[in-house]
């Protein structure tokens, strides 16, 4: 029996007073990759934001436990230090902060919070360079302001670079495939696959089956109208692709 890393029980979440998640239950064990698929408006991004701790996503009932701790009570930065990482669908552009400075600040903030020794600038640069090449993150990108003027593919590659740098225990990928062409998608998937490990859990959120051809999940959950309406193995992705969400969502209703 594997240890459950993330345990979501009957989770209800409201945004601006409107209920988006309506009783979501989900368990992910260490070493597993789970996928959440669902049509637009099903609550996929809400789930990713509530796990990362974004303000404005109110848990009205239910619980989220992460390695036995109450995740909902933690600040976003504390979650990050404890190993929760969200690769965002829309990485934010931050003018005036260079990418490398940001990476160093974030990495050291996490290490400081865990009581680990901070890295000096040279060590961070070495570490980043070592990981950047395979993701085609160039020196020039590292010198530029964070995500400013980056293409969609560059932004997503930088998200995966961060993931590989921070070595999270629980990685949530929110529509990492959106806006990527097939080459960029393969590159990103390869980056994610390298990070699969028995100690790490991943939650891959996507609208399309395509990404799951490259990041093959252990389990797929179908989210619709704020609830999990179907679950299955990796073959469920193909069934969804062939028959559409309506078919499965309709059956569940």
């Amino acid at each position: 029996m594997r240890t459950i890393m993330l345990e979501i029980k009957d989770l209800h979440v409201a945004v601006d007073g409107k209920e988006i998640l309506k009783g979501l239950t989900l368990n992910i064990a260490a070493g597993q990759v789970h996928a959440i698929m669902g049509p637009n408006g099903s609550g996929k991004s809400t789930l990713s934001y509530v796990l990362a701790g974004r303000a404005g996503y109110d848990i009205t009932s239910g619980t989220i436990r992460y390695n036995g701790e109450n995740l909902a009570e933690m600040k976003p930065e504390d979650r990050a230090a404890k190993g929760v990482f969200l690769a965002m669908q829309y990485p934010v552009e931050i003018p005036g902060v260079t990418t490398l400075t940001f990476l160093k600040t974030a990495l050291n903030a996490q290490r400081r919070a865990r009581g680990e020794k901070e890295f000096d600038a040279m060590s961070v640069l070495k570490l980043v360079r070592g990981k950047a090449a395979s993701l085609k993150v160039t020196e020039e990108m590292l010198k530029r302001a964070l995500n400013v003027g980056f293409s969609g593919g560059e932004k997503k590659r930088l998200e995966i670079l961060q993931m590989s740098l921070f070595e999270p225990k629980l990685a949530i990928l929110d529509e990492t495939d959106s806006g990527l062409d097939i080459d960029a998608l393969k590159l990103v998937a390869e980056g994610v696959n390298t990070l699969r490990s028995p100690e790490r859990a991943m939650l891959v959120i996507t609208h399309y089956q395509r990404l799951l051809d490259y990041i093959v999940p252990d389990r797929i959950h179908v989210l619709a109208k704020g609830r999990i309406v179907a679950e299955g193995g990796k073959e469920l992705a193909h069934e969804l692709e062939a028959k559409g969400y309506e078919h499965i969502v309709g059956k569940a209703a």
Partner: protein, 368 residues
């Protein structure tokens, strides 16, 4: 100053008349809506003389003490010739203290400081092809009214770093600048705030290829006020002006930017850009940003924008979600916001001097 000089008496009398007609500005005067000078000074003594001091002058720069008689020709030619608003008229009519500088070639930096309370005048003349960096700072108290005329000759270049650290003073400055053909005037303003601080620039781009590049930051903590008011006139074509002002306002503070750009008839191919932004750190802080364009020419490129807001939630969340604690994340974002304007200073040592003042003022300015 120049007790027996008729030319000066005449110019002073004109200024006195102008001031008598206009009076001390108050908040019902449109240009002074956000800075009520009359109630701020409340009977302060106009007759006092603010003091000035100059560091050792580099090669190519000469000075003249405006309190002395027998002004040289270059002083007589320019002193009191540029446009004067109400407070500039007051300082010109009343000041018995002041200094004039003349630059005749490419010169190193000059440091000019004004101190104490009262009126003072300055005159800076760059002859054709000359260049200078002027670092101006203040240690004023009470009520100070300082008027400075700046004449930038053909193909001359002036970099003007004007630093006003936090004070309890009421400080009004009027800069009248005239830039000849091919001349460049770069100004950077640092405002730490005062009881009331008003720096007003009246800039004439008077010859083709003249350029004015203005930038600045106001970093204001509780109780501070800083008003930057500019009027750039593109009097002839093929002239450019840029303005970038950033303000961070915390506590109960007030940041003001009023920027008017006028492109006169026939001043075609003029290029003007104007941006003012403010970050408010709490409910009690206020920013009044008012960019204005008056265009009387047909073929011009003008852009202006202003934005007031608080720190972007999405950016803050992104940084925190990557492990950066909230206070540190806020700091990063505010610094990045201000840095864009400070980066307009090309010289690294000057930029670092200004940045050190930003750092010193920030902790207070970031409190709500």
């Amino acid at each position: 100053m120049n007790a027996n000089a008729h030319w000066l008496d005449a110019r002073r009398a004109e200024a006195a008349n102008r001031f008598a007609a206009l009076g001390v500005p108050h908040r019902r005067v449109e240009d002074w809506k956000y800075s009520d000078l009359k109630s701020a000074i409340d009977g302060a003594n106009d007759d006092a003389a603010a003091q000035w001091s100059l560091a050792a002058l580099p090669d190519g720069v000469e000075s003249f003490d405006l309190a002395q008689a027998d002004a040289p020709d270059w002083v007589r030619k320019h002193f009191g010739t540029l446009p004067q608003n109400a407070m500039a008229s007051a300082s010109f009519a009343q000041a018995r203290s002041g200094v004039a500088l003349r630059v005749t070639k490419a010169a190193a930096a000059v440091r000019l400081a004004f101190a104490e309370a009262g009126s003072a005048r300055g005159l800076v003349v760059l002859e054709d092809g000359a260049s200078l960096t002027l670092c101006e700072d203040f240690e004023t108290v009470g009520f100070t009214n300082i008027g400075v005329e700046i004449v930038v000759g053909a193909n001359a270049q002036l970099t003007h770093i004007r630093m006003a650290l936090l004070s309890d003073a009421v400080q009004v400055e009027e800069y009248a600048v005239r830039i000849a053909r091919g001349g460049v005037y770069r100004a950077h303003l640092f405002n730490g705030g005062a009881k009331l601080s008003r720096a007003e620039f009246q800039i004439a781009l008077a010859g083709e290829n003249a350029s004015a590049q203005l930038s600045g930051v106001s970093v204001l903590g509780d109780g501070a006020h800083a008003d930057v008011t500019t009027h750039v006139v593109h009097a002839v074509g093929h002239t450019t002006s840029t303005q970038l002002f950033k303000h961070v306002a915390g506590g109960k503070s007030r940041a003001v930017y009023q920027g008017r750009v006028t492109v006169e008839q026939g001043a075609d191919k003029s290029d003007s850009r104007q941006t003012a932004k403010a970050l408010l750190m709490g409910e009690r802080a206020e920013a009044d940003l008012k960019p204005e364009l008056e265009i009387f020419a047909d073929d011009v490129k003008c852009a202006h924008g202003a934005a007031v807001g608080d720190l972007d939630d999405a950016s803050l969340f992104y940084l925190r979600a990557r492990g950066i604690p909230e206070a540190e994340a806020r700091n990063m974002l505010v610094r990045a916001f201000l840095e864009e304007a400070v980066d307009e200073i090309a010289d690294e040592a000057l930029r670092e001097t200004v940045w050190a003042s930003v750092e010193a003022a920030l902790p207070k300015a970031m409190l709500p």
